[in-house]
């Protein structure tokens, strides 16, 4: 029964839909778990505002970890935190083992969604390539697993410009293949 109480707590803290259901009809949510009277009383008394604040703090913490992995993408796509947090609220993270930092692990987990969201015409044409370059590079630096991708742009050049404080506007497409190996990145114009 302690397990069920913990499952409820974690669900409402990490899953936006579960939290909404809990706010709307707490009894219906609790009926879905095997809970004793004491557990039910504890969960019925849970202050919703505190859960909302806790959930927001968890999202913010995860975003902070991811932000350390994608600083350049954040420079050119200020909507990135909102995109990520919207997705996170619908996709709670599984507990996993590994050598990756929480930010790199989360970057890999969210990469498909971030790429898709950054590929629309509200963002720089190279934003999806840049987030991929940053996430794969960070992950490989940490775990040594070789990774690669094909970009539409010369992302390494664009990344260098951003590091110098220059945000490239409408660069010409220049397809490149990137291969990451530990701290090294190799590329070839495709």
């Amino acid at each position: 029964m302690l397990a069920a109480l913990q499952d409820v707590l974690v669900a409402v803290a990490t899953d936006r839909a579960a939290r909404r259901r809990f706010a709307r009809d707490r009894e219906a949510v609790l009926a879905g778990y095997e809970l004793g009277e004491r557990e039910l009383a504890a969960l019925r008394a849970l202050p919703l505002a505190a859960i909302e604040r806790y959930a927001a703090s968890l999202e913010l913490k995860r975003w902070g970890e991811l932000a350390r992995v994608v600083p350049r993408t954040l420079r050119i796509a200020p909507s990135l935190p909102a995109i990520y947090r919207r997705w996170l609220g619908e996709h709670p993270a599984p507990a996993e083992d590994g050598v990756l930092s929480p930010g790199a692990r989360e970057g890999l987990r969210a990469l498909g969604e971030l790429r898709a969201a950054l590929a629309d015409d509200r963002h720089a044409d190279y934003a999806a390539d840049l987030v991929t370059y940053e996430v794969l590079g960070a992950a490989t630096r940490e775990d040594g697993v070789a990774r690669g991708f094909t970009a539409r742009f010369a992302v390494h050049d664009l990344a260098r410009s951003i590091d110098r404080g220059l945000v490239p506007i409408d660069p010409e497409p220049a397809p490149h293949d990137y291969r990451f190996a530990r701290a090294r990145v190799a590329w070839r114009a495709g």
Partner: protein, 273 residues
């Protein structure tokens, strides 16, 4: 084990300064094992130079499951680093960071202080003590919310846990102050309820106010109230091994953090003693 001194949480940004031949240095370093899973060799120079304590956040000792493959793998990774660096202590929290169903919270969630949870955490602590071969201590958290209907208070939970397992307590004074502010009690008065004889480490950190809720944000200097509480602990926590100043965000230059650690150490062990 006698008192080692006051140190800081290791952050990569300080690495060069910590390993330099000159400059201000802390008496010890607190290491988050996960920072070295990908490059364990980077721990060796720090271990050669400083006494270390390990501080973990992901063991989720209160999760009511049979133990996941992920936590077993985590324990094995920590054990490998222990063999490499021989820390004086390994610590984690009385909390959960994942659900029995396998969802990761990414941060600490309060434990429901029941007899069932006490037995569960006690079994896990004994297993860790066997596996790690170094003293284990558990920390009180800054609770984001209170869970009612508990069978034990947090302090009683720690008292019984430490007595039953022989583990130590990592008393985070700033967390205690945060809970006192948020849930309306007197931190100094509450101090006596904890098993002070089992306190082997103290954490100090700065926090911040988030719309009326005090958060242990670890992004500011340690408050005077935490230093005052530390002074009250003097002479009562006779097993203390280490004091650690934590800072995760807005990390200042090393000398500023070392100065905070020195202030704490002077309170604990006045220079005239």
């Amino acid at each position: 084990m006698s008192f080692v001194g006051a140190g800081i949480g290791y952050r990569r940004t300080h690495r060069d300064a910590l390993l330099a031949d000159a400059g201000e240095r802390p008496a010890l370093l607190e290491i988050i094992p996960g920072h070295f899973f990908g490059e364990p060799e980077a721990l060796a120079p720090l271990a050669a130079r400083y006494p270390l304590v390990f501080h973990e956040v992901g063991l989720s000792l209160g999760t009511a499951d049979a133990g996941s493959a992920a936590s077993r793998a985590l324990v094995a990774r920590i054990r490998a680093l222990i063999d490499l660096a021989r820390p004086a202590l390994v610590t984690d929290h009385v909390a959960i960071t994942r659900s029995p169903g396998g969802v990761d919270l990414g941060h600490l969630c309060p434990l429901w202080y029941t007899r069932e949870a006490l037995a569960l955490v006690g079994d896990r602590v004994r297993a860790l003590q066997d596996r790690f071969g170094v003293p284990v201590a558990l920390e009180n958290i800054a609770a984001p919310f209170a869970l009612g209907e508990a069978e034990l208070t947090e302090a009683a939970f720690f008292g019984e846990l430490c007595a039953a397992t022989g583990c130590g307590m990592l008393l985070d004074l700033s967390n205690l102050i945060a809970n006192a502010r948020n849930f309306g009690f007197d931190a100094a008065a509450r101090l006596a309820d904890y098993p002070l004889e089992a306190v082997v480490q103290v954490h100090l950190a700065g926090g911040s106010d988030d719309r009326g809720f005090w958060v242990d944000s670890h992004d500011a200097p340690v408050g005077d109230d935490a230093f005052a509480l530390l002074a009250q602990l003097r002479g009562r926590a006779r097993s203390l091994v280490a004091i650690v100043v934590e800072r995760d965000d807005r990390v200042p230059p090393l000398p500023e953090l070392v100065a905070e650690a020195r202030r704490a150490e002077a309170l604990w062990r006045p220079p005239w003693i």
